[in-house]
């Protein structure tokens, strides 16, 4: 199974244009922010000291969530490619079996998602460190890594559910384009959730990725928020709600509540992703007793 995970990684990283395209969603978010959005959002928060850094951290949190979604989808394209050619049949004539094959695809895509989030983080942190003097603590990096892992697993599982319905590479590339551009909006990564109409806010709250973005932002921003608002809690909460640092479900969710939601989503999505595979595996005729 390790060999198959390695295969997924090799095939993903050797396809350079595929790597770049899978980062497109994240790059759009990053560049759009730098070129257009940073100034206009910041203008609204002139009164808040250090709002530049806070917005940088906000952007990183959302962009990492997007990166996880788009790169794991790119990693999972191998399932469709293998199914469309006879590679899947070729692999299933070995001793690996359907379950392990499925798990290896999911593990490979998760690993790709984790690595690409780490790379995006280094790029964004490097830029904001030089440009705005942004810093992170070791603890923040540790927690972020854990959330990256969670995001990678969750995004993989959700994408895998969708991929089960995709039969051809041509439809998958259209899907990837839609996900790449849509993910930024759906996780509230491009535009602050609080500025959107009610329906859009509901849509974002139904997207598991926005809870990942929220967790990322809490890890990155909490200290800075406490400093900046210095005990003015109602103002801080307003800011958190507006930017989606914490998601509002009849009151702002705590970090623990947000984490619980993510874990439940992860479990449900994993079951939904794997069960159809197991059923189709059972249907496969066992020739060699």
């Amino acid at each position: 199974m390790l060999a198959l995970i390695l295969r997924d990684l090799l095939l993903y990283f050797r396809n350079y244009s595929g790597v770049i395209f899978s980062l497109m969603g994240a790059m759009i978010s990053f560049v759009l922010y730098l070129v257009f959005l940073k100034n206009s959002i910041q203008a609204n928060w002139k009164a808040v000291p250090g709002s530049g850094i806070l917005l940088d951290q906000w952007l990183i949190g959302g962009t990492l969530a997007i990166t996880g979604i788009t790169t794991t989808l790119a990693g999972l394209t191998q399932i469709v490619a293998d199914r469309e050619s006879q590679v899947r049949q070729d692999l299933l004539q070995t001793d690996i079996g359907n379950t392990k094959l499925t798990v290896s695809y999911l593990a490979g895509a998760s690993l790709i998602g984790l690595l690409m989030q780490a790379i995006m983080f280094v790029i964004m942190f490097g830029y904001f460190h030089v440009e705005d003097g942004l810093n992170v603590t070791g603890e923040q990096v540790g927690l972020l890594t854990a959330i990256m892992l969670l995001n990678a697993a969750l995004s993989t599982a959700i994408n895998a559910i969708v991929i089960n319905f995709v039969k051809h590479m041509s439809s998958l590339s259209s899907l990837s384009a839609v996900v790449g551009t849509g993910a930024g909006f759906l996780v509230g990564g491009l535009i602050p959730i609080g500025t959107l109409p009610d329906f859009a806010q509901k849509l974002i709250k139904m997207t598991p990725g926005s809870y990942i973005a929220s967790l990322n932002r809490q890890v990155l921003m909490n200290d800075k928020l406490a400093d900046t608002f210095d005990g003015h809690l109602s103002m801080q909460h307003h800011f958190e709600k507006l930017l989606g640092v914490r998601i509002d479900w009849d009151g702002l969710l705590t970090r623990q509540e947000t984490l619980n939601i993510v874990v439940v989503a992860l479990v449900v999505a994993t079951v939904l992703a794997i069960v159809p595979q197991l059923i189709s595996g059972r249907q496969r005729r066992k020739l060699m007793a």
Partner: protein, 286 residues
């Protein structure tokens, strides 16, 4: 028998692709499944290899039979090297001898390009790697679905020689589908199938004997005399030539010697698999 099928059938709705196929494959034999496009060859192959469930009928292997498959389209990864491809596939089997990959690289002549990416190889090189991959688990029976389609004649001969070598030196049972008739010529056992039926079975010689008579074309020196000497109905006349369809070369020799004085010229065509194939499956293009 290593493999027996009884009344193997595959139907999609009312469309019957394979219709009550009875096949026997002997251990160590070289079997060719021959048929025009759409005859049901690939469907049959998919059922034999367990990738497609038959609608009805049975497939029985001798117990413990291991199978290897060379698919019609390539199933290895273009962006991985030859060795990476083989190592990754080998790891999916529980029991592959540690030096198996090196053995196969040597045996199939892949040494010169093991570090090259699969997608950069020529058609013939790719095919050899595909065959190496199919042999990783030391199969008892190797299936090849149109292994030489799209290859040049030299490469086809090389692949063919390789397969024969595997059969004779390593007692490998080989089953392949093809629509190249010359390939069926050297098989131990040929099943000609069309519309999902076996329409002829035997070795190439027996099929040719049954369905592709030898042809003798005589240009007479004296048409009337020769015509009166021969029994009418045993020949056709075409452009003034007399054409005989005969079972054996001996029969042709007898006609030629008996009528030597009346013959100006002659041509003799032994029956070919092409003739048998056309006789069996018709001229129509599908």
């Amino acid at each position: 028998m290593l493999l027996t099928t009884k009344k193997l059938t595959k139907a999609y709705g009312s469309h019957v692709v394979v219709n009550g196929l009875d096949l026997d494959v002997e251990r160590g034999s070289f079997t060719a499944i021959l048929g025009p496009n759409g005859a049901g060859k690939s469907t049959t192959m998919s059922m034999l290899t367990g990738n497609l469930r038959p609608s009805s009928g049975t497939i029985t292997y001798a117990s413990g039979t291991k199978i290897g498959i060379v698919f019609q389209a390539s199933v290895l990864d273009g962006n991985l090297s030859v060795r990476e491809n083989l190592v990754i596939r080998a790891k999916q089997y529980k029991h592959v001898e540690p030096d198996k990959i090196d053995q196969l690289i040597e045996q199939l002549g892949l040494t010169a390009f093991t570090t090259q990416r699969y997608q950069t190889l020529s058609g013939g090189q790719k095919r050899r790697v595909d065959i190496a991959r199919a042999l990783l688990n030391a199969p008892d029976i190797l299936y090849l679905d149109e292994p030489t389609t799209g290859l040049d004649i030299q490469t086809r001969h090389a692949i063919w020689a390789l397969l024969h070598n595997l059969q004779t030196q390593h007692q490998l049972t080989i089953v392949l589908t093809t629509h190249y008739l010359d390939e069926a010529d050297s098989a131990d056992s040929v099943f000609v199938i069309d519309h999902g039926h076996v329409i002829a079975h035997g070795n190439a010689a027996s099929i040719k004997a049954a369905y592709a008579p030898d042809q003798l074309r005589i240009t007479p020196a004296n048409t009337e005399q020769l015509s009166s000497r021969l029994r009418s109905g045993t020949f056709k006349v075409d452009n003034g030539d007399f054409i005989f369809e005969l079972r054996t070369a001996q029969a042709a020799l007898k006609i030629l010697t008996d009528n030597q004085d009346l013959i100006q010229n002659f041509q003799f065509h032994p029956g070919t698999m092409d003739d048998a194939f056309i006789a069996l499956t018709g001229e129509e293009v599908r």
